[in-house]
Structures are given as C-alpha cells and as structure tokens.
C-alpha cells in the first residue's frame, strides 16, 4: 500500500457564528474557495496537476451548504475543473474523516493527490437546519435515548466526577494557551485571512478569544443545559433511564466551558510521495494510522477514548509512542474525561488551546486541529501526534500523524 503524506494544511480564522460575526457576510462557498485557493497558490497547483478529488466535511449540508458544497467550492476556486468534490458528514469529526478518506484514496492508489477539509458557516446555516431522523423520529429517539450533546457532556461530568470548577479551570487555560499561541505567531503558517468580494480582509484572527477569561468571569455564567435537562422538555429523565446509577445530572457546562459556535473552513493537501515530487513540494508528515468507532449514543461523547485504543492497537502503537495529543474541546468534560481515562497530563494535550477558546466550526474542525497539531510538532520537534474528536450519535474518529 502506498503512503499518504500531508503537504499542507490551512484554515481561515474562526468568526463568531452569529449575525454580528465577521464572517457572516461571507458565503460558505467562499470560505471553502478561499482555503482551496491558498492551497493552489502555496503548492504550485496548475490546471495540469490538480488534485484528483476533494473531500470536505459539512455538518449542515442544506440550503447554501447543500447539494455537495465541496464540488461547489471547487468550481468557485482556482482549482481545475478536473478536481472532483464530495461532501461527508461524520458530524463533529467530518473534516478528520475527510482527511482519513482522502488519505485512503492515496493509499489504495485510487488517487495521487487529494484535498481534505471542511466548511461550516454556523451563522448562515444554523445547527438543526437539516432536521434528521436522529433528532426528530420518535422511533429513533426512543430506541437510543437520544439527548442533546450538552446533556451528554453533563452526563460525562456527573458520571466521572468532573466539577464546574474543573471545567472552568480547563476553559480559562484554553483561552490562555490560544492567545499565547496567537501572540507567538504559532498559527501564522496555517491561517488564511478571509477577504470579501472587493478584496478587503474581513477577519485575520479568531474572533471568540477572551483575553480576560478568568475563573471569576467563567463562574458568572449560568448552566447552559439546566433548563433543557430539568424543565422543558426534561432530557435528564431520559438520561437517568440510561444511567440509573446517577441520582441526578449535574449541569456544569456553560457557554464559557463549551466550544464556541463559529464560522470557518480548512483544507489539507494529501498525496503520494511522487505527487509531491511532481509539484516540487515537501511532505510534512505521514498519515500513520486512522480509525473510527461507535460508542454508547446517550453519553455520546466518550468515543475518543475508545477510538484512541482502537487506532493504537491497529497500528501496533502504545500510548507512549504519542508525543502530542489533540482532542477537540467540544465540552470541557470531554477532554477532562479523556485525560482521566487515558492518564494524559494537560501539558501534553491541546497545547495551543482549542475550540473552547477559538470555536468549533463543526464540519471544518477536524482539519483545523490536525493542522494545529502538525504546526506544534514542527515547532517543538515532536515526532508523533494523535488527533481525535468526539462525535454526535456516539462515535469517535482518530488519525495518527508522524513527521517525515
């Protein structure tokens, strides 16, 4: 089997995912086209040597993100029309799944050069826009005790003894790390400022960073899922039927210790060694191993632990082979439980901050954090990194990369 290499990884800054966010005036297709254009420019791509396929994640593939947003973005970019496009939805891990699929295409010889990544304009196509049987069909909801992610995150906290203070402490640190990385220029190589139609830059830095985040400001925020859980419609009663050993659900998550709702896009260039040579570009890392798994859907967000075990076992690695850990900060309890289960110190995981500080543009996050991990590995000379995300419906996806 061929090896799949990462040649480049870029992302937009993440704009606040509300009508007053800076990227709200930029269409999702444009977000995608701009990161694709950056890949084209930075890697000498021409009409003759374009990638075979582009695979982008998008979690709300309806409205202006519908009908194959990836092919649409390809057509609107400077890529040749010979580059195909397909959209995937693995919920929050869509862009990492896209990466794994793009790598697999190279490994199996289906393609020489591929693009992975994702697009999500959460301000323009809000969460829930696609409905879906998982959240509307009573048959599905009853059989699986479906609750919203925030309730799941609170179940994790309750079951594993993670307190509001633990979560807030973690969140404050996420902001500190992200701001420090920004200030140091850690993200410079990865960031593609977003421009409008008249060529003006509308955003060049993540918009949800809070330099003043501290325990006091975090502590002032109300629990985000208390009402949904205890009052209307009362998801806690559903959760407790699945976890009857808990007396009640502790609602520790707030807007401050959960990931932010943002807009953004990311792209990764993946190919065989030969494809890189043709373009005259150097591989930055090798995709060492990939895996996905399903896990219990009510608690939903514990998949990273299990997919990590799976990906390590499948590649004959152990925990000690990993130099850097990157787990999407969907909710503080997700990372804190992962650290607890895997016995990982905070100094080894999410060292540049994460989605609590910078936001989680669902369909794009996987590619964003993969790029963040790659940059960190290069700066601090780390060999191996493991990137993973928790996923709606109870899943986990992971990718192990290795510098070359």
């Amino acid at each position: 089997m061929a090896e799949a290499y990462i040649f480049d990884a870029v992302r937009t800054p993440r704009g606040k995912g509300k009508p007053d966010g800076s990227l709200h005036e930029i269409s999702p297709v444009q977000l995608g086209a701009q990161v694709l254009n950056a890949i084209v420019e930075r890697n000498n791509i021409t009409d003759e040597n374009g990638p075979d396929d582009a695979i982008f994640g998008c979690v709300m593939p309806v409205g202006e993100q519908g009908s194959n947003i990836t092919r649409t973005a390809v057509l609107m970019s400077n890529l040749p029309e010979t580059t195909a496009g397909v959209h995937v939805n693995r919920f929050c891990a869509s862009a990492l799944e896209a990466t794994n699929m793009a790598a697999a295409k190279v490994m199996t010889g289906e393609a020489d050069l591929t693009l992975a990544g994702g697009i999500e304009s959460m301000s323009r196509v809000p969460m829930g826009s696609d409905g879906g049987a998982m959240v509307t069909d009573p048959d599905v909801i009853f059989k699986n005790y479906i609750v919203p992610q925030g309730i799941s995150a609170d179940i994790i906290a309750t079951k594993y003894g993670i307190t509001r203070d633990d979560a807030d402490t973690y969140a404050v640190e996420s902001h500190k790390r992200a701001i420090r990385s920004w200030d140091r220029g850690d993200f410079n190589n990865q960031i593609i400022p977003v421009k409008d139609v008249i060529g003006l830059t509308v955003l060049e830095r993540d918009e949800t960073l809070r330099p003043k985040a501290d325990m006091q400001s975090m502590g002032g925020l109300g629990p985000a899922f208390l009402g949904l859980g205890e009052m209307m419609p009362g998801f806690d009663k559903v959760a407790l039927q699945k976890y009857p050993e808990l007396e009640k659900i502790e609602h520790i998550h707030t807007a401050g210790n959960s990931s932010g709702i943002v807009d953004g896009a990311a792209a990764i260039l993946i190919g065989s060694k030969e494809a890189g040579e043709k373009l005259g570009i150097k591989p930055r890392a090798r995709i060492r191993a990939m895996a996905s798994c399903g896990s219990e859907p009510t608690i939903m967000l514990t998949g990273p632990e299990f997919v990590t075990e799976k990906v390590l076992a499948r590649s004959g690695m152990t925990k000690s082979d990993i130099d850097l850990w990157e787990l999407n900060e969907a909710f503080a309890s997700v990372v804190l439980r992962y650290m607890q289960a895997m016995d990982i110190d905070h100094s080894e995981i999410n060292v540049n901050g994460g989605a609590i500080a910078m936001g989680h543009p669902m369909g794009a996050t996987g590619a964003m954090i993969l790029g963040t991990a790659l940059g960190e590995m290069e700066r601090n000379n780390k060999e191996t990194g493991l990137v993973t995300l928790c996923i709606g419906g109870g899943m986990g996806t992971a990718t192990v990369i290795e510098r070359v």
Partner: protein
Amino acid sequence: MSYKTFTFEIDKDGIALMTIDLPGQSMNVWNQDLIKDYIKAVDEFCTNDDIKGMVITSGKSSGFLAGADLRMLGTMPEDASAKDIFDENFKLQTAIRKMETTGKTAKELTKGLAHGKPVACALNGLALGGGMELALACHYRVVTDGKFQMGQPEVQVGLIPGAGGTQRTLRLAGVQNALQICSLGKPMDAKTALSQGLIHEIAPAGDLVANAKAWVKANPKSNAPWDKKGFRIPGGSGAMDPRVVPIFAGSAAMAQGATRHNYPAVQRILSAIYEGSIVPIDTGLRIESKYFTQCLMEPQARNMIRTLFVNKQAAEKGADRPKSVGKIELKKIGVLGAGMMGAGIAYVTARAGMDVVLLDRDVEAAEKGKAYSVKLNEKGISRGKLTKEKSDAMLAKIKTTADYNDLKDVDLIIEAVFEDPGVKKDVIEKTEAVIGKNVVFASNTSTIPITNLAKNSSRPDQFIGIHFFSPVDKMPLVEIIPGDASGDLPLAAALDYVGKIKKTPIVVSDTRGFYCNSVVMPYLNEAMLMVKEGINPALIDNVALDMGMPVGPLALGDETSQELGLRIMRSAQQELGDKYQPSGLEDFLEHWVETLGRKGRKAGGGFYEYPEGGKKHLWKDLAKHVPLAKDQPSAEEVKDRLMFIQLAAVAKCFDNKIVHDPQSADLGAIFGWGFAPWTGGPISHIDTMGVENFVAKADALAQQYGERFAPPAGFRDRAGKKFYQAA
C-alpha cells in the same frame, strides 16, 4: 337498505341522515354490528346517485359515540396474525376514508377531476376515540352547546387511535395539538375543539341536525381539506421544518420521561404523527393502522383493558356484593376518631354527599379533623375546582362531636381511632350502645385482625374491616375485610359505601397486613436490604421508577417512616415469638432509626433529606454509614429483585387465599401501592411471562438471595396454565 345499528333516511333534498342508535345499549360504541352496517351504508352513500350528501348523528341522549367497544378487542384470537389484525382494522379505516372521499382517489380530488359528496356530523354529546375519528372524517362538524367532550383516550389502555385519529387531528390542529390530544388522551370541551380547528360550529342541541343539513345543502361539492390542492398542515410538518423539529425532539423526551419506556403505544402515537406529517393522508392512515396492529399484537393493551377498564368497573359496580342483601341507604355516616385517617374519611364521605358525624374525645379534636376538609376545599377553591357555596354546603355536612348520642341515627360506622385494642374495645362498646340495630360497624384498622376486634362487639356478624390507604382523599383503593363472624350485611354495606365514595374495593382475608401491606412490607424491606448490602441507593429508586412504580421504595419508606417500620417489626417479633421470620434487617433498622436518627420524612429525613422549599436528595452522609459496595449490580439485577419480591409476595397471598381472585390481586396492586400499571397487575404480569417462567426465575432468585423469593406451591402446579382465561 335497512340497518340494525342506525336509521338511514333520505330527505327530499337527497340528504341522508344516519342516526346511530345501538339497540339495547346506553351509549353508542364501535362494535362488530355497527362496523358491518357502516361499511354497507358507506357503499350505499357512494353508489346511490339519489343521495346528494349525508349527516351523521346519534339517537342517544348520552352522546354521539364513545369509541370502540373495548370488549371487542378482547375477542381477537390470541394467535391472530399481524396481517389478520391489520386487515380487520383497515376495513373500518378504509370505509371511513371512503365516506370522506365518496370513493374517489386523492389524486382525482386534488387535481379537481372529481369531487366528493358533502358529509357533516351533528354531535349531540361526547365523541371519544372512534367517535371523534368518525366525526373528523366528516367535512363539517357542528357540536352542541350543552355537555360535550371530544378526545382520543386510546392511549390510556395501551392503544393508539386506529381509525385515522392521529392523521386527522394532525392535519386539522397541527403537530403540537395532535401530539397532546393523542398521547395524553385527555378529552377537551367544545371551545377548545373550535379553537384548534377540530370543529366548525357550536349550536343549540335542537338545531344540530338542521344546521348540519343546511351546510350539506349549501356545499354540494365537498372534499376534506387534505384532498384539496395546496393543503399544508397548520404550523409546519416534517423532519426539517424549524417550527416543528423542536416539537418532535421535545415531545419524544417528555414522553420518555413520563412513560419510562413502559408504554410503547405512546411512542407509536408520536411516530404515527411524525411520519404522518411527512406523507399524504392515505399513506398516513396505513402507517397508523400498522402501529395500531403492533399494539394489538402485544399483551399490554389486553392486560390494561382487562384490569384498568373491565375489572375495575366490575369491582366498582359491586361484583363481590352478596345478592341476598338489598340496597342499603347510606345517608349519614359516623366516623370515629378525627386523626389523619378519620379526617380523610370524613372528607371523602361528605364530598360524596353523605352526612358525617365526626366523633373524637372532645369537640376540639373533632374540629381539628374537620379542618382537614376545610383545607382541602380552600385548595380546591383557589384552583377554581370548587365554588365557595359548594364548599360551604359540603362542610355543613360534617358535624363534629364528642357525644356518642349523636351517632344514634347513623347508617354506618367507620372507626378510625388509635390502633390500640383497649381504646378500640371502649369505642366499640360505647358506639354499639347507641346505634341502630342493623347498623354495620366497620373498622379502619390496619394492624389488628378484624376477627379479634369483632370479639368486642355484641353483634360480630355486623362487624367488618374497611381499610383505607393514606392519604384517604388521594388513594383510590379500599380493602374490605370480613372477619370470621361477618355476615353478608356488613359486606354489602361496605361495598355500597365504597361505591358511593367512588373508590375501588377489593375483598381480602383477615390476616396480618391484609393484602396490600403484605406485599409492600417485603418490597420496602428488599430495597432496604440492598442499601445494607452497599448497593447504590440512587440505582435502587431509579430502577423502581423505570419499572413503572410511582415512587422509589426508599422514598416510599421515608414516607411511611422507618420508625413505624421498626415498631411494626418489633411488635411482630413480640407477637409471633419463635414463629417470627427474620428479615435480615433487624439490626440495620434499629441502628438506622435509633443510632443514626433517620426516622423518616416527617421526623426530619430518612434515606433522603428534604430541604425547605427544595427538591429532596439522598442523605449526604449515607455512604459514610453504609459504604457503597465496590461491585455494583446491573440495573437489570436490581429490577429483578424489586419486581420479583412483589410478585412472590402477591403469589403467596394468592396461594394463601388472602386475596381471592386474579382481578382483586391486580386491582389491589395497581390502585393500592401503585404497582406498574402497564403490566395490568402482578397476576397479569405472571400470565404474560408464563407462570412456569415466573417460577423458574423466582426459584433462581431464591437461590441467590433467599427463600423470600420462592414461589408458592400452588404456582408450581400451574405450569402452562393461565390465571386469566382468554378474555
């Protein structure tokens, strides 16, 4: 053509009037005869060109149509195939749809290639279940301004509407209203129905048919709204409309919270409405019929109908009443003792329109008991459920006294004094000295055998036990306990009295704890034993709730109080001596109550703490005194213990003839201590699992946890037999 169940008359305008009037029945219901006639009449309506339109009404003053004859559902053979059940149900579904479309296809109608004949209904009173469904398939509904109710109560007996109810309420009233109407099963009044678009007009009873005919005449071409081009479900539909997506997500959560996965009909109602909001009506009706069929293929609806409907009504009508005794006039009741029980008994008695003489040691004590009624009435007034006038009239019926002479003209005595044989003896003697010769004396004792108490009576043949549960005003069950010497008269009087206060009676044997407490005690003990073993108390109570119990056994133990539990245990030890069977809780309970001071809710807390104005939570120090075991059982293991300790105790009561028939055992369980109603009761539940499976499982549990789970001999002998013959 002529019909058995309705008249069918065509007037000079060509308008057919179908007046449903089931012979020999006080209320119209869908039974086989009506279905047969209706199908024929719909054919006539569609094919006879002289008929220009139709009006449907009822010939009963009791209302329009009360739904399906639930007894008919019981006649479905147990081995009926899915297809048989579906076809049977779909026959009526199809006929109703045919009436709605005059036999035209939806495509013809929506494209304007054909039109239907107008159908209106004149609803002179309640239209429930299949009655409402028939009405909704009419194009115009005019409703009496008198007494009226409309609703889809099928869910209450484990069914879903099966004649288009989910589909047509959805299309008329929108997703949210349809979900509530069909999944809660509560009836609505005419105003609500009008505001939700479920009816068109409210008119004086005398004008109903004329108004319906006038509408038919004025609308010679008529289609249902959903057979018109461009029809949209009001308020949004489908899996993507942001107006209804949160409603589907929320209602599924609420329904799971309320039913804890014990009532599949509720999920099917939600599914029929959800899927029905995506597909056209004809597909929706098929989907509804399939979910309806699923309900009938499972034992739940059969069990629920039998216990909660058929047997409950039979018990309340006095199934156990001796026929030798004529009806007993009960106008004035003497209630002895104005404590918590006496106060409650006085309340329910006066509320039922009887006069009460409430007697206690002094008038102040009796007044204190009456104050309970005052308090409950004030609550009722503040909630708009009672007028001041009615309250005053009701309170005036309760005469407080300390004078036994005031009892001289009462029709029945109910004694609820302190549980002390000496006190009781005194009261019995003083009362019998003044009351009439034929007046029955009933004791509400819960701990002293009736036969023993009757020894204090000069007329033991007129002595009986009427055992209420606390709080009397809320608890629907009453145990009636004849003593050894009791004759037919006291049994008849007790049943007549319970009938008047509208509670459900069961007749049980005179034994320690009678029936209900003989089961509740071991059940509460089992939960306490689990705590003693170090099992997570949250798991114990949550599992009980998930099983369908209204409250967890630990929380229930707090209510009944562990202090009382300890007292009962000690008195049993004393009384039974060597015959006392240790529960294994003796030391634990003593330590719990006397050392740790956890006496129960009223005495400051038990397993739970009860913060002022806050929600109860488990006692924070519990794990300090009773450490959690390292290995916790699965929810399934806990569930088995909590379920089978009750089943085993019920089986023993049944085997020992403490309770005499499956009906009483099931009714007593559900209405006495809240045994999971979805099962139809413990004996129904044993029937459903198969008695041999019950025996095998109980034996396995006995081996693992102790003899208390062992099934009685009588149950071992019944392998393969059912307690209830196919209904």
